[in-house]
């Protein structure tokens, strides 16, 4: 099942202009390595679960030389690759855009923004990757983590599973912080 045009990771910086070029290049390359080491080819169907709504689309990326995978840390391929895919999905499905990266103690990886009724809203976005197996448990962990993030309008977790491949985005119920 495929909805809409393909999701092209090589356009990551067009989706998120504030993402620095050097970071985007590494993230996309690691996404390519993560997908290819799981035997996926360019154009594979990416299963998406966005706030419990199921859909899918073709995923494309600049092919990487799998021989280079040993030069990268195995876990970093999974985590950085997941960030590229999750950020692309967040833009495609919710029109969110990167503002900046946050330090880990803010309980989220990225600060994103979007427009809602003419107002700028901030999103804390925590991302994680699973090389093989189910993403369900990881999603529960990441939701609990990002729920602690403050100074944002919205908290969301994104988990990418490379085996299938699949991406799930789920939001924490919004709270209001008095400052």
């Amino acid at each position: 099942m495929s909805d809409g045009p393909p999701l092209d990771l090589s356009s990551l910086r067009n989706m998120h202009p504030e993402l620095s070029p050097d970071l985007a290049v590494i993230m996309v390359m690691r996404a390519a390595l993560g997908l290819q080491r799981n035997k996926h080819s360019v154009g594979v169907n990416l299963h998406m679960t966005i706030e419990n709504a199921v859909s899918g689309c073709a995923l494309t990326w600049p092919a990487a030389d799998l021989g280079l995978a040993k030069q990268h840390d195995h876990n970093r391929i999974t985590e950085d690759g997941a960030e590229a895919i999750a950020l692309a999905v967040a833009h495609k499905t919710k029109t969110w855009r990167v503002v900046r990266r946050m330090q880990r103690e803010e309980c989220a990886d990225w600060l994103l923004e979007h427009d809602s009724d003419g107002k700028r809203k901030l999103v804390a976005f925590e991302v994680s990757g699973v090389d093989q197996g189910s993403i369900v448990v990881r999603m529960r962990e990441k939701l609990a983590q990002v729920a602690k993030s403050s100074d944002v309008d919205h908290r969301c977790a994104g988990v990418v599973g490379f085996e299938r491949p699949e991406t799930s985005l789920m939001s924490v119920k919004e709270k209001k912080y008095a400052r």
Partner: protein, 138 residues
Amino acid sequence: MRVNTLNALVSSAIWRAEQLKDLELEEAASSAWLEVSKLEEELAKIKPAEDAEGRIARRGAVRAALKANDLARAEDLAKRFAAEGASQALRKELRELLKVESNGLSEKFPSALRHHKPSEVLRHARLLLERGPFLLAA
């Protein structure tokens, strides 16, 4: 726009510092965190403390200074941000960040902390490690 440039730079700097820390390259990670702290400080100059991004930058500047093992810088930043009109909640968060660091020191140097500021204790502890106990006789 300057804020966009700083956001891109701080994003790269944080990513790099975290990678260096994960690789356990402590000295390189310290330098990287100092760079993060300075970039967060620059963002704090542009984004007021009333703004969410301003608060994130102020916490980030102090936290990154601590991760760079520069307690004096962290203390100075926290003091400056408080004087510039940070909210009570933000001042409390910054004090908590410094307290966690001081608690680590108080476990290691309880007597020294009774007589000196945490940043001075840390400075002397580092000198002692680098130059040995004969420093004390000098």
